[in-house]
């Protein structure tokens, strides 16, 4: 008898299904018109999916190109900024070299022309002063010897406990407000107020202290073309130097010199060394921080620098 299960089993076995599949495929090959209609139907059925896939492919391509473009432009911008900064520094260094060469050429020409060298008009004079401690201040206050600040309403007791150093030299030794106070070649501050026998000192780090400074590399002397800025005390251990353009070559370790002592001293006075150099974006000036050479402590003895006229020049100019 005809066994349905046996026949179905033959058609579902691998060999039987292969035979059926190949026969159907051959039959499809025999009818090209049927194949063409099937292709048309397949195209219609696949069209929506293809449109969606095409839109997705375009979106992904556009997104990836945007992403790669953004990364590339950011990278290029950063490189360009670095290059601009490097070129500015290089230009400044070349300009410094050129200025130095011109200055030397001019100086050598002048020295050839001038047969004699004139003596200086101003001479530097150093007045040695001792820093008074708290006990010495109290002793002087008891005897009403401290008269600093009385014109401004400052009490003696306030000066005794004040943190400002008190020197034992004043107007008697021609010490005046504004004179530089030195420890060796290093500036520790300026005379703030001067009385008959005593004077107070404003230290470099105290708020309100300001001076024009020059910056130079550690092994170089400052020149007229050296970076110039304003030193400010901010009440902290470090002092801030402002108004130095980012085009100027500045780095940590550079030495900070006083700028306004030219004509009095042959050697420049030192404030300290640069410890930190920063620059904010789109800022045309460096943010420089300096460590004073005088250090956090204070010497027992200091020297007050004052200028006086050269008596020789005065005698020479007299009729």
């Amino acid at each position: 008898m005809f066994d349905v299960h046996k026949v179905c089993g033959r058609f579902t076995s691998p060999g039987g299904s292969l035979a059926v599949s190949v026969m159907v495929a051959l039959a499809l090959m025999m009818f090209p018109s049927l194949a063409a209609r099937s292709r048309l139907a397949a195209d219609v059925a696949l069209a929506p999916g293809q449109r969606v896939a095409d839109v997705g492919r375009r979106e992904i391509t556009a997104w990836s190109s945007k992403l790669s473009g953004a990364f590339a432009s950011t990278d290029k911008l950063a490189k360009a900024r670095d290059e601009i900064k490097r070129l500015r520094l290089s230009n400044q260094q070349l300009a410094d070299v050129l200025d130095e060469a011109r200055r030397r050429a001019t100086a050598s020409d002048a020295s050839e022309l001038l047969a004699t060298k004139s003596s200086p008009l101003l001479l530097a004079e150093l007045v040695e002063a001792r820093v008074l401690g708290r006990q010495a201040r109290a002793f002087l206050a008891e005897r009403e010897i401290i008269d600093i600040g009385q014109d401004h309403g400052i009490q003696q007791d306030a000066l005794v406990v004040s943190g400002s150093p008190l020197l034992d030299e004043g107007r008697n030794a021609n010490v005046a407000a504004g004179d530089l106070v030195l420890a060796g070649r290093h500036i520790v501050g300026r005379i703030d107020q001067s009385a008959a026998g005593t004077s107070t000192l404003k230290r470099v780090t105290q708020p309100g202290y300001r001076d024009v400074v020059l910056l130079a590399a550690e092994n170089q002397s400052p020149t007229a073309s050296s970076p110039r800025g304003i030193l400010e005390g901010v009440g902290e251990e470090l002092c801030r130097i402002r108004h130095v353009a980012t085009t100027a070559p500045v780095s940590t370790g550079d030495v900070v010199y006083a700028a306004d002592e030219g004509g009095i001293l042959t050697e420049p006075l030192i404030y300290g060394a640069v410890t930190r150099v920063e620059v904010a974006d789109d800022n045309a000036h460096w943010e420089i921080w300096m460590q004073p050479r005088s250090g956090p402590g204070f010497p027992q003895t200091v020297a007050v620098l004052r200028a006086r006229l050269n008596p020789g020049r005065l005698a020479g100019n007299a009729p």
């Binding site: 299904s17 599949s21 190949v22 159907v24 495929a25 059925a45």
Partner: protein, 194 residues
């Protein structure tokens, strides 16, 4: 029924990808055959007797999206699925590498058979020296696409011959039955759900 619906959706999506995106991945005349990858995955995953019919239908889809004879691809896919079933009955094909190798073999075979069919029908003429290399390139490219897919999908449960687990081996040992399964009664097989 759920399997057939799932199969239809998968074949539709793969056909769309094959027509829209795969041409962009082609290296010269060599591109991946994603429908061959689908057929291999189906045969290995659902290795039942009608897997050859399913492969033939996937081949028919490949015929409908490509120029040439309609039916050649169906026959080639059917032949490849039949051979793959024969190989699978002898080898485990349980790991990713052997499945990838199966994709390479099947895609190469399908490319060779469809090229031969086109040559027999007179649709393809010209230089034949590069045809084997092109077919092998299609197989390797398809295997390269399939490898990460197989890793992503992970191990799937295959039908047909199963490996005995440690628990079954211990039970067989306790009953003094050989681990190969010979001599086990149908009752034992039902009990172990093998």
């Amino acid at each position: 029924m759920i399997e057939l619906v799932l199969l239809f959706i998968v074949v539709y999506v793969v056909t769309v990808v094959q027509t829209v995106i795969a041409p962009a991945w082609a290296i010269g005349p060599i591109g991946p055959d994603l429908l061959a990858v689908t057929a291999v995955a189906w045969v290995l995953c659902r290795g039942k007797s009608y897997a050859v019919y399913v492969a033939a239908l996937i081949g028919l889809a490949a015929d409908l999206i490509s120029p040439g004879l309609v039916g050649a691809g169906a026959a080639a896919f059917a032949v490849a699925a039949y051979l793959l079933l024969k190989i699978k009955s002898r080898l485990a094909l349980g790991d990713v590498v052997s499945r990838t190798a199966a994709v390479c073999f099947v895609a190469t075979l399908i490319a060779a058979l469809t090229t031969a069919a086109a040559a027999v029908s007179g649709e393809l003429t010209g230089d034949w020296s590069r045809v084997p290399l092109r077919c092998l390139g299609v197989g390797l490219y398809s295997a390269g696409v399939a490898f990460p897919l197989f890793i992503a999908i992970g191990p799937w449960r295959t039908t047909g011959r199963r490996q005995l687990g440690n628990k079954s081996l211990a039970a067989a040992s306790a009953l003094r039955l050989p681990p190969s399964g010979r001599g086990r009664s149908p009752k034992c097989l039902r009990h172990w759900n093998i």
